[in-house]
Structure formats: structure tokens, C-alpha cells
Amino acid sequence: MSFISQSSPHAHATNSTQRVMLTVVLATIPGALAMVYFFGVGVIINLTLTIGFCLGFEAAVLYLRKRPIGFYLKDFSALVTAVLLGLALPPYSPWWMIFVGCFFAIVVAKQLYGGLGFNPFNPAMIAYVVLLISFPVQMTQWAAPVNLGDLPSISEALTKVFTGTAIDGYSGATPLDAFKQSESLTVADIYSQKPIFSEAFFAGAGWEWVNAGFLLGGLFLLWRKIFTWHAPVSMLAVLALMSIIFYDGSSESSAPVLTHLFSGATMLGAFFIITDPVSSAVSNKGRLIFGGCIGLLVFLIRHFGNYPDAVAFSVLLMNFAAPFIDYYTVPRSYGHSKPRRATEKVDV
């Protein structure tokens, strides 16, 4: 009689990587629904295309790398990347652009580095930035929210995506664009003159609800203990603080705090992008620094830079810095009066 031999522990918690990934996807639903409501069917087309392309690329690369396709597809990490990319790209983007984006996300940013767990950069953000630099026109054409005009019909949308036929008057400035483009106006002027603000409740028409949706999803993930509060809270706090400091209402002023927090990719970034564990710092202290620096960078780029939104750039920059943060934030462990630096020599 012989029994199997395996290493302790023999008990395991019931969570799994699949479950973590699926929970993340689930948590995007409120924000995604808000997007569909305000920006129309284009969001659904985006998501369908990114999911199809991303899973396809993932399977193809796994096949080329001779890995078990089913086993790795089932970790659902490609699905998460696909959903995040689909939500980040402007609705009604041309299909080929989405194709290129998915290629960069899955093949270049993830699999070429060795697959899940080995990618130093957030794949969705790599794709976003590559597209933003390569196709700035398409990437800055956001649909106007539903309360500012009619949404394209399904057939219009499909023609636009697959043939490139333009749709009249579907696009409009985002709240952040509005601020960027009106340098001479005071904050009060912008708020009364620009419809994207005059039609809004507290931050920017449509966008405020989309961000509120992602905030809701993020709180759900926090409750499910999918990630710790450190990075998102730190990012939002620094962003808020900076916008308060630089706010004076004049034409030089920063956008108000709520506008910063509830427009653009702020909430999506805070709860779904920078919490991507693979490419962030590892310790809690490290995550505080990581999130705080992203908040700072987002504000600096939005306020002083040329790009209206900055989450993608900031995240990539800090992904780059994450190993350095880790280096200096090894936590103090039991029985040590102070943390040992990862660089410190040890007596072998």
C-alpha cells in the first residue's frame, strides 16, 4: 500500500487565479454599463473585438510556445486585459486599430516577456500608449455622451468600425479636452460655456457616471479582498491634493478636484489598472509609493503636459519604477529590528 507523497500544506483556501480574474471582470460591469448608456453600442463593439482578438492572440502564441492552451486560457488573464483595453479605447474605433492594440497587448507586452506574471508593464496600457502615439487622431475622437447628442445606430456604428465611413457629429470633447482647449477661460467660464460641464451634475456629462461606476466596482473588489487599498487610495489622494493646491479658479487654474477624480480614466486606472498586481510594487508600503507617484504624474501631465489624459503614461512610467520601489521597501520581518535592504550583502 502506497499513498501519494506531497509537500505541506495539505489544506488550501478555495480562491484561485481564475476566480480573481473573473471577479475583476465582473467588477467592471457598472462602469461598462454606464459607458454603454452614455456612449452607445460602440463600447460593446470595442469589447467584442478586444476579447476576440486578445483570446485569439493568446491561444496562437501559446500554440507557438507549445504550452497547454486550455490551461493557460483558463486563467482568464487575457480576458481581463481585453476588457480593460476595450474600455480604454474610444468607442467606434476602427477594427484594425483594435487589432493592432490587441497584438501589442498580448503578443508584445505579455507573451514575449514570458506570459502571465512575467510582464513588467501593464499590457493594456502598453497597447493604449502605442495606439495613442501611432494614431493620435483616432485615439482622441471620443463619442459625445448621450445627453449632448444622438448616439450612432448599430448599422452606423458597424460601418464606421469596419469601413471607416465617418459618422457626422458623433464625437465631442471630453471634459479633460475641454479644459486643455480653453486656456484663456476661467474655471467658472468653462463650466458655464462648455456643454460637457453645463449638462453635468458634478464633474462632466456622462464621464462622472462612468467613473462612479468604476469606483463602485473598485469598492466591490476591495470588499472581496482582491487587492489592498494602498495603491488606489494613495493615487486618488495625491491627485486630489494636487488639484486642490493648483486650483484658484483663474484661467491658469487646475480643474476642480471632482473633475480630476471623476473624468477621464481616473477611476478605471485607480481600481483596475494600477492594482494589476503583476506590474505594480509588491509590499504595502511599496504600493503606497507606487500609487502616490501615479497620482502625481497624472496631475502633472494633465495640468502641464500636452496630453489631455495621463493615466496610461503614468502607469507605464511607474511600472518601470516598480522594481526600484521594491528594492527600497522590503518590509521589516519578524525578528529584525530594521528591514534588510535587498541589496545588502549577506554572510553566506
Binding site: 505541506s8 483556501a13 480573481v20 512575467f118 535587498a342 545588502e344
Partner: protein, 766 residues
């Protein structure tokens, strides 16, 4: 359920008022699974038919067996004694016969077999009489600790550290912490023990506190999931200074370091011991066993073990004799082997799997789990680490398990140590929470092993580097040393010779048996034991085989294979044994020895053993022998025209002279012996021994000379030889002997050789 929760609350509040508790980081909450083993009352397992006592049931050196195969032992008899400071005695838990002392599978995470004593029961359960002791508070502490030591008490919570060592330490102890935490799921052995014997435990705590110099803080700590044990102990502790504290459960709050932190807020510095922060932690089971050892003189021969799991018909706690095979305990609980996904000794978090149930329950075995597949399914394949950080949240040591995993995979030993790998207590909390099911602890264990090996190797290479550095120095010293040695050896040989002479006067030389003979004896005994066990096994295998054949069982093949295997083992053992028997166990010094001193001693010894007459005779004989050989050589040299013919001739002449001398001596002696007058013992400056000495000295001198010196020496001797040869030649010419030609040739050849040697020397002297 509600009642349970209420009790929790009561305990929590009452303990809070008594003692401040400190938070510990990390930790997990695996399902407790404790209730299923608490339904049955504590019972005792019948004495087994056979026990297996591994010699290493504790941390430290394995014990040394004191019994032989075939010997009858009683229950409670010491069968193996502690070897060294950190080791423990082992006693038989049944009466019966020792049937084997051999390597057998033992409960150890490595799964490797280890030396064990097997005892077959005679069903009499006859016990040695124990020595009770009432006044232990009055005895010197050392004496009480010695009682604990001789009873073989070790930490029963899992580690198996000898208790007497922990109690005998120096340094002031402020906290005596009794660990009743039992934070691992499934295990309830300590819970039952505390419920059943609260009075004894409190007495034991008082005893240990006394031995440790009555620390100010004496506390029993447990998780608040044991309300019955808590109440029982609380009751028993009334009127003493023993605190009983329950705190909310969290795995691994029962880890030694974690418990100290929980109760005192102190952290044991990395690489240090609890006593360095003034704390001693003892498991409740250990306290109980130590108390019984002192009070009743009982050795550690039984313990409480939880037998639990879905593949059993009933589950509960039993008192088992140490050494009982796991299979015995399992069958008592209705083990359904097919339903078991695995077999675990210890808890599900830190226990290890057993490959067979033929493994004994030892002093540290607190639990045996036979889980069903639903309970503990085989582990899912590992997925990539997504760096979610859940493991870092769970780690009680504050480590970064995901980084350790990363470095372990890339075998970056430096980084692993910088991330304090060696502070990992292998609690398994990280693996427990990991959503990717990565066997993290396994990686850490492997890395720790690799680093330890690396350290050893480094120490080794350091040593060899030092050796290299000292080499130059040594070479410089070598000449002087050799010279000194040579003189010393010469002296030693002389002294030895003298000693032999003296010894001979007192006792026959054979009496001086070398110390190594004893260890040879030991080896033989061990091999004989091994052979005996192998034979017993063979017999039992054959019996089983016969049985199987008779029954027509489908296990015949298997049995036949076992018989084959046993036969092989017997053969092997026999071969080994006969090997040792053939090795000469030299009681006299070996004449073929490599050591010149020993050789000289041996020869001198042989010489001294003879009477002067015999000696003279043998002397003559050997001289005759040598002469004939020398003559032969000379003739040969002459016929070949070899250049050493003349030298040989000189030798022949000398030998002839010597022979003459010896013969006269012999004749004298013979005459003397005829007149029956005894001659005094041989003078120490025996010519033969002297000759040996001379030859030896010469050989040594040659060996220690530099090439230059050698050449010079050669030249000298050649010059001497030439002179002598010329003399001879002249004499021969004068006599007109027929050897003239040969001698002339010899002289010439010698001269040629001298010239070439001189040339060689010149080349050496630039």
C-alpha cells in the same frame, strides 16, 4: 453554534481583563475541522503486536541502541540511550523480544528510512517498576532535570526538542509560556489532554516553573476554540500564579515565536532562541509527560494522538504506545484505504504525507489524518504567480513569499538570504492562500537545503584556499621539519625498542592489543545484528509466502518477491560480515606495515622474543642467506660486466666476515647452553636492529635530501667505491688473480659514472 459563539465571547472578555494581548502579523483562517474528533471520549489503543522505535524521534543526534536482537525487554525499559548533549533516551512501550535493529521507514518529511529498533510483543505487558518521587521540590534541580532527561521527554508539539536541554539553560527566564494553542486544523490531542488532566498539567507547570527559577510570568495560552479545556484549566489553576489565557484563533498563532509575540509582544531576534528574550515555551503535552516522569518515574512511552479524516469510520483521540504502527491505529478506527486521498502525520498545514501506514507513531506524532478525496483533493497544478500579494498578507514572519518564490526559482541564493529566507517557519500560510496553488513552502525547503549545502561547500573551499596559502610557508619549512622528524622518529624507534624489551620482561607482547580492535568488534556486532534481523525477516517473509500459497491468495507473487528481497538482504549481510571476519584483527603489530617505525618495532619484537641462542642461530641463517644471494648477484654482475660488480664483491666479503663472526658466536652460545648457563637478555644494541636502524636512517636521509644533496652524496659514495675498487684491483693484480680484468672494468665504469654525476651536479649549480 450560537452557544459556541457565546462561549468564545465570554472567554475573550474574561481574558482581556487579565492580560494584554499583542497582535501578530499575517495569519490565515483555514477551516478548523476540530469537532469531528471531539465526539468520542479519550480511549486507549490496545497494546500493539509489534512496535518500531526509530532512534531519531527527536531533534539532535540519534540515540544509541542498548539492546541486542533476541533480547527480551520489558515495558518501560531503556532500549536506546541519548548520544550527546542534544539527544534523548528511548524506552520500550511493550514487553517482548527485540527482533530487528535496522533501517526502516520512519515519520520524517524526507521520507528517508532510519535506524529503528523493532520489538515483538509477548502479550504479557510486563513492566519495569518505576521510581516515584514525592519531594521533587526539595531535590536539587539538576537531579529533577536528570529525571526528565532519563525519561526521554521531548517537545511533543511537533519539533521534538529534548525538554531537559530547554530547562537546563542559563540566563534569566521571565516568561514560562505553556503552549496549548493547537492552531492547526483537525488536531485535538492537546485539547483532550487539557480537558482530561487539568490538575496534572497545572502541577507540571508548577514543576517547570520551579526548575526555571520561578519566572514572574507563567501563562498557559490557547485559542478560544477550546472552551472546555479553558474552563478545566482555569479551575485547576485557581490559587496558583498560573494564568490561563485564550485568544481568538488564527493560524499559526501556536508557532513558538508567534505565541511569544502574541503573549508578550516580544520578538525573538532572527537567529536567536526564545531564551534570549527571557522566554521558554513548552507544549502542554510535554508538561504533562515531564510531570509524570518526575512524579511517577514514568518514561515517555505513550501519548495522545488524534486519528481523524473522512476515510475513517469513526474519528477521535487515543492513547497510543510510542512505536505503534500507524496501520494499527487506523484499523482501530475503521480505515477505508480506497477512500483516502493521502495519509498525513501532523496537521494539514505543517504535517507530512506518509507513503505507507507501516510507519510508527513517535513521540512527536500528534495527529494522523486519513482524508477523503472530498476533504483534501489532490492539489491543482500550479499556475503562474500573479504577484497578488496574498501570500505576503498571510505571512506571519513578515516576509515577501512571492519574492522568495521568484528568487528560489532563479536560484538567487544571495537575494533569498537578503529577503530573510531563513526566518521562514514553513508554516504554509502563504501556500494556503495562493490563488495560483504554487507549492511555495516546497520551494523554500529546497532552497534552504541548497543554501546549507552551499555554505558547507564554501567552508570547505575556504579551508582549501587557506591550505593553498599556507603551502609556500610549509614548503619553506619542510626541510627543517623533515630533519627534525627524522631525528625524532629515530629516537622514537629506539625508545619503542627499549619499551618492547621492558614490556617483554613484564607481559607477553600480544597483550598490548591496539584500541582499534574494539571498534572492529563493534562493527562485527552491528553486522551480526543486521544479519540476524535480515534472517528474521526472511523467515517471516517465507512464512507469509507459504501462507499466501496455501490460501491461493493473489498476493503470492508479491510475497515471493518479498522473500527474494529478504534473501538478497541476508546474503548481503552475510557477505559484509564475512568480510570483516577476514580482515585480520591484528593483536600484534603487522610486519607488513607501511610505517617504518612499526616495522622496526615488529622486527625487534620478534627478535626479542627469541632466546639468545635462537637469535644467534637465526642470525647465522639469515647471514648465510644473504651471503648466497650476494654471491649470486656478484656473479651475475661479473658476467654482465655491470659496473657495480666490485661493490657487490665488497658486500660479499663483508658478509663472509660477518658470517664468520656469527658462527663463532653461535658456537660459543651452543657451548654455553650445553653447560646450561643462562645468558642475560639481549643487549638493546642488537646488531640486527642496529642494521635496520641504519638502513632506515639512510633511506630517510635520502628521501629528505634535495636533488643537489643527493648528487653530492652519490659522488661521495662513488669516490669511496672507486677507491676501494682500485685497492681491490691492486691486490688482485698483485696476486695475479683471474678477477683482474673484471675489476679493472668495474673501476672504469665507476669512474665514468662519477664523471657523469659530477656533470649533473654542475648543471644544478649554475
Amino acid at each position: 453554534m450560537t452557544a459556541h459563539a457565546v462561549t468564545h465571547q465570554i472567554i475573550a472578555t474574561s481574558s482581556q481583563s487579565e492580560r494584554k494581548l499583542f497582535p501578530i502579523p499575517g495569519g490565515v483562517h483555514p477551516p478548523e475541522n476540530k469537532s469531528q474528533s471531539l465526539n468520542l471520549p479519550l480511549s486507549a489503543l490496545p497494546a500493539p503486536a509489534k512496535i518500531i522505535l526509530p532512534l531519531n524521534q527527536h531533534i539532535g543526534a540519534p540515540a544509541k541502541p542498548l539492546v541486542a536482537i533476541g533480547e527480551r525487554v520489558l515495558k518501560g525499559q531503556l532500549v536506546a540511550s541519548a548520544k550527546g548533549f542534544i539527544s534523548a533516551n528511548i524506552h520500550s512501550s511493550i514487553s517482548g523480544t527485540v527482533t530487528a535493529i535496522e533501517e526502516l521507514p520512519v515519520p520524517h518529511p524526507s521520507g528517508l528510512p532510519a535506524m529503528s529498533i523493532v520489538i515483538r510483543s509477548d502479550n504479557l505487558d510486563e513492566s519495569v517498576t518505576y521510581e516515584p518521587c514525592e519531594n521533587y521540590f526539595e531535590l536539587p534541580k539538576e537531579q529533577v532535570i536528570a529525571k526528565i532527561q532519563s525519561a526521554g521527554i521531548v517537545g511533543m508539539g511537533g519539533a521534538g526538542f529534548p525538554t531537559s536541554v530547554k530547562l537546563g539553560g542559563r540566563g534569566k527566564i521571565e516568561h514560562l509560556i505553556i503552549n496549548g494553542t493547537e492552531c492547526e486544523p483537525y488536531i485535538t490531542a492537546d485539547d483532550i489532554l487539557m480537558q482530561t488532566y487539568p490538575q496534572e498539567i497545572i502541577e507540571g507547570v508548577k514543576l517547570l516553573a520551579h526548575l526555571l527559577g520561578n519566572p514572574a510570568d507563567v501563562v498557559i495560552g490557547m485559542e478560544d476554540n477550546k472552551p472546555k479545556a479553558f474552563t478545566a484549566l482555569k479551575e485547576a489553576a485557581k490559587g496558583t500564579n498560573v494564568q490561563v489565557v485564550a485568544f481568538p484563533g488564527k493560524y499559526p498563532s501556536g508557532g513558538e515565536k508567534q505565541l511569544i509575540q502574541r503573549l508578550t509582544g516580544k520578538e525573538v531576534p532572527s537567529g536567536k532562541l526564545p531564551s534570549d528574550v527571557g522566554a521558554v515555551v513548552q507544549n502542554v503535552g510535554t508538561v504533562y509527560a515531564a510531570y509524570r516522569a518526575v512524579k511517577y518515574g514514568e518514561p515517555l512511552i505513550e501519548r495522545i494522538t488524534t486519528v481523524v479524516g473522512g476515510a475513517l469510520q469513526k474519528q477521535g483521540n487515543v492513547i497510543v504506545r510510542i512505536g505503534t504502527p500507524v496501520a494499527d491505529a487506523l484499523s482501530e478506527f475503521g480505515f477505508k484505504e480506497r477512500q483516502a486521498s493521502q495519509l498525513i502525520m501532523g496537521g494539514p498545514m505543517m504535517g507530512f504525507t506518509l507513503e505507507t501506514a507501516e510507519i510508527p507513531i513517535v513521540k512527536t506524532s500528534n495527529c494522523i489524518i486519513a482524508p477523503s478525496y472530498a476533504e483534501m483533493p489532490p492539489v491543482a497544478p500550479a499556475q503562474p504567480c500573479i504577484r497578488c500579494g496574498l501570500c505576503a498578507e498571510a505571512c506571519p514572519a513578515g516576509l515577501l513569499p512571492q519574492q522568495l518564490y521568484w528568487y528560489a526559482r532563479s536560484e538567487d541564493h544571495e537575494k533569498l538570504q537578503a529577503h530573510n529566507l531563513f526566518d521562514c517557519i514553513e508554516c504554509g500560510a502563504c501556500s494556503f492562500v495562493c490563488p495560483s496553488h504554487i507549492p511555495l513552502v516546497q520551494y523554500y525547503r529546497a532552497s534552504k537545503g541548497a543554501i546549507r549545502t552551499e555554505r558547507e561547500e564554501k567552508a570547505k573551499s575556504d579551508r582549501s584556499r587557506r591550505r593553498f596559502e599556507f603551502k609556500q610557508e610549509r614548503i619553506a619549512k619542510a626541510e627543517a621539519e623533515k630533519e627534525a622528524k627524522r631525528i625524532a622518529r629515530q629516537k622514537a624507534a629506539q625508545e619503542a625498542q627499549q619499551k618492547m624489551a621492558e614490556q617483554k620482561a613484564k607481559a607477553p607482547p600480544a597483550a598490548a592489543a591496539p584500541a582499534t580492535a574494539e571498534s572492529a568488534e563493534d562493527t562485527r556486532a552491528r553486522l551480526e545484528r543486521a544479519l540476524a534481523s535480515a534472517q528474521t525477516r526472511l523467515e517471516s517473509a517465507q512464512a507469509k509466502h507459504a501462507e499466501a500459497v496455501a490460501e491461493g491468495s493473489d498476493r503470492v507473487d508479491q510475497m515471493a518477491a518479498r522473500v527474494k528481497q529478504a534473501e538478497l538482504k541476508v546474503q548481503e549481510a552475510q557477505a559484509k560480515l564475512s568480510e570483516t571476519q577476514h580482515t585480520p584483527t591484528a593483536s600484534t603489530v603487522d610486519t607488513n606495515s607501511d610505517d617504518p617505525v612499526a616495522r622496526a618495532i615488529a622486527k625487534a619484537q620478534a627478535k626479542n622474543a627469541m632466546s639468545p641462542l635462537e637469535k644467534a642461530q637465526s642470525n647465522v641463517e639469515s647471514l648465510e642467506n644473504r651471503l648466497s644471494k650476494a654471491q649470486e648477484k656478484h656473479q651475475q654482475a661479473l658476467s654482465e660486466g655491470a659496473d657495480n660488480a666490485s661493490a657487490l664483491l665488497i658486500g660479499v666479503n663483508k658478509l663472509t666476515e660477518k658470517l664468520e663472526q656469527a658462527r663463532t658466536e653461535l658456537q660459543g652460545l651452543q657451548a654455553e647452553s650445553l653447560s646450561s648457563t643462562e645468558k642475560p637478555a639481549a643487549a638493546p644494541d642488537d646488531p640486527a636492529a642496529a642494521a635496520i636502524e641504519r638502513a632506515k636512517a639512510k633511506a630517510e636521509a635520502m628521501a629528505s635530501m634535495s636533488p643537489k644533496e643527493k648528487l653530492e652524496n652519490q659522488i661521495e659514495s662513488l669516490t669511496g667505491r672507486i677507491a676501494k675498487a682500485e685497492q681491490k684491483l691492486a691486490a688482485a693484480q698483485a696476486e695475479n688473480a683471474d678477477t683482474v680484468e673484471a675489476l679493472a672494468l668495474g673501476v672504469e665504469k665507476l669512474k665514468a659514472k662519477l664523471a657523469s654525476t659530477q656533470q649533473e651536479l654542475e648543471q644544478l649549480n649554475p
